[in-house]
Symmetry: C2
Subunit: 402 residues, 2 copies
């Protein structure tokens, strides 16, 4: 081994930290722990039987291509199916606007690779998705957190920050927004707020990154038009994924953007992993073509709706005064706020002893705030566990209160 490994690594690598979520995911392996920690879909939503017959068909009919290297931009059939789906959502796009990625996390990584030099500013939510923060951090981004109100990222704060950065000639590379059932906050941004921020982006000539992995998992309320579709000029880069609405184990996501941007992302992806597995892409395309996708998603939404309602009911029944939580209209998470004086990190260690896990909210805050918050996933555990886990957690909280 060389003598100075920790010294010769890149500046960006020196700033990398192990993911708290990843470390927590390891806990899920203890079968006695009820875990609300990961953002895992429920295994009962995986369409095993259909997959077996589809895989057989893909290998028999298209094996030479499915098992070979594929194009960097992705399988044309899958890109076409995704395009058609988004056109229904008001996206003015062709297949050339779509790049298939090795799940959404690669889309976030490519954003860093293509846009971020060390020290570049990026606007993110307070809170925001940990995987996004990690990906941008890996390129040395300087993240500026934008506070939330009940409609998500505050547009007045966005304007303040943009004005300030413009004066300093240090404009951010993009504004990172998760508009639908935000991870971790569970908030959905209404259309008027989307339009406000889009108008600011146009005024200040800055890109918006719209990360929307849960949009299709809506239990109630009205769908809010994607920021991409409110714009349709290329001001917005949209990220999507199958991880929550089909299968995380396939590692398939996509980036939808202006063709100039997509082209640059394709170049960047070439050096990153050459192409996403054509095997899982072709299985996914066939699965959609056969109409299984929409049918299965409907069951998934119903399942998660019931799970969320059970969790909310347990919160209402068991949680002590002073604890508040969001009640999202969709997605996978709700966000809990404890009294100011409490520290979710301390609570976490106590909760583990009672065999219940969550994610401490501070990891979603680029400025280290949010110590009295926690993220709860309601999709992975069973309905019984959702009730029992919240009961255990409420007890731990009650015992930790002054």
């Amino acid at each position: 081994m060389i003598s100075n490994f920790q010294e010769i690594i890149s500046k960006n690598a020196k700033g990398m930290k192990k993911s708290a979520i990843r470390e927590l995911l390891k806990l899920v392996k203890d079968p006695e722990i009820i875990s609300f920690a990961g953002g895992l879909p429920a295994p009962e939503t995986f369409p095993r039987k259909e997959l077996i017959s589809i895989v057989k068909e893909v290998i028999e009919q298209d094996g030479a291509a499915a098992l070979q290297y594929g194009a960097t931009e992705g399988d044309d059939k899958l890109r076409t199916l995704i395009m058609e789906n988004y056109k229904e959502l008001g996206f003015d796009i062709t297949i050339d606007n779509i790049l298939i990625t090795t799940a959404s996390q690669q889309g976030l990584d490519l954003l860093g690779k293509v846009f971020i030099d060390r020290g570049d500013k990026v606007l993110v939510g307070l809170p925001s998705y940990l995987g996004g923060l990690q990906a941008f951090n890996a390129y040395g981004a300087d993240m500026i957190g934008i506070k939330f109100d009940e409609h998500g990222m505050r547009s007045d704060r966005v304007e303040e920050v943009l004005t300030d950065l413009k004066a300093k000639n240090d404009m951010p590379k993009f504004i990172y927004i998760i508009p639908d059932f935000q991870n971790p906050a569970g908030v959905t941004m209404p259309e008027f707020r989307r339009k406000e921020i889009l108008a600011l982006a146009k005024k200040y000539d800055v890109l918006i990154v719209e990360d929307s992995p849960y949009k299709q998992i809506r239990f109630e309320g009205k769908d809010q038009t994607s920021i991409f579709a409110l714009d349709n000029t290329g001001q917005v880069i949209n990220l999507g994924t199958f991880s929550k609405i089909f299968l995380p184990g396939f590692r398939i996501g996509w980036v939808i953007a202006h063709k100039d941007i997509t082209d640059k992302f394709i170049m960047a992806k070439q050096g990153t992993d050459l192409c996403t597995s054509p095997f899982v892409q072709k299985i996914s395309a066939k699965y959609i073509e056969k109409g299984y996708f929409n049918k299965n998603l409907k069951h998934t939404i119903q399942n998660y709706k019931e799970k969320k309602n059970i969790m909310i009911a347990a919160f209402e029944k068991y949680m002590p005064e002073g604890v508040t939580w969001t009640n999202p209209e969709g997605g996978l998470f709700l966000f809990v706020t404890l009294p100011e004086y409490m520290d979710a990190q301390d609570l976490f260690l106590k909760a583990i002893k009672k065999k219940v896990a969550f994610v401490v909210g501070s990891v979603f805050h680029c400025d280290g705030s949010g110590k009295n918050t926690m993220r709860m996933n309601f999709s992975y555990a069973s309905k019984e566990q959702n009730q029992e886990g919240v009961k255990r957690l409420a007890q731990v909280i009650r015992e930790s209160m002054r």
Copy 2:
């Protein structure tokens, strides 16, 4: 769209170029063109029947885990099987030294991410693998090409460059070597040369990256011990992949390194794509466990050996005086040198008209040299095509000669 997209992209993204190979791969779609361009395995080596039954088994017995998110470091069963295989090759490792990557290209990308700041030096072969050059270029590496002799990278040149860089206090981050059936040169580095370069790496306290995707595809001659196994102290990072010896469409590779390095790579991978598809990892593990892997590889080696021999025979029969070529003991490529005055790029355009394709050698040279060289793949086309394609190419070369 924003007004200044090309200006606000990162310094590294500004230096990215489209891959010549990728553009060439598109030509393969014209069924009349005999392509020796890509590094594609032969589709007839894909074990379709066995895969169908294994996928069924994996989904039925282990579907909840196979279709879910997985650990960033990879599937433990697969890591164990890979570990056992490398132990037989003299690697002193445990499972903690192994990280599963989204094919070998991701290993190259992680090398860039973990080690390279803009302007950092990296030693590469003249020629070297284009995907490696691309990956390091994406992090702004300053690559120094080391000339070859008949044993691969010249150790005297390595020492000269290291001495020079040490004097300038600008030591390279690593020496990138493809010791077995080098891509594109087809040269295998004998053990004495491996030991010379390893001794230099130790003397100058610099890491070696050993990229070895073809090692197991040997037609004749004696296996040369891996540089990793000649060292076993952590001086060497070894990259492996299933892409040439099993299936490229699964996108599975691995990095074997000192645990401190593997740990850092795991952190870097988290932000890059979270995890490699557990689905294809579990299928691969089961495939190896059932003993199909070794059996199939034996057939693949025999197939490629015959294809290479047919190509070499065609070279001997058809090529005009003044053209030379390597005759590798394994791998997928041979490397052709034209008379000094000829330009492979011009030749390429003429060859395409005659419906035969190759890769111009200059793309493998970080200094832009090698204009009179070309890389020929012999694994993908059929035996008949290997003969016919070389015949066509020889005619184009003959007509282009003075």
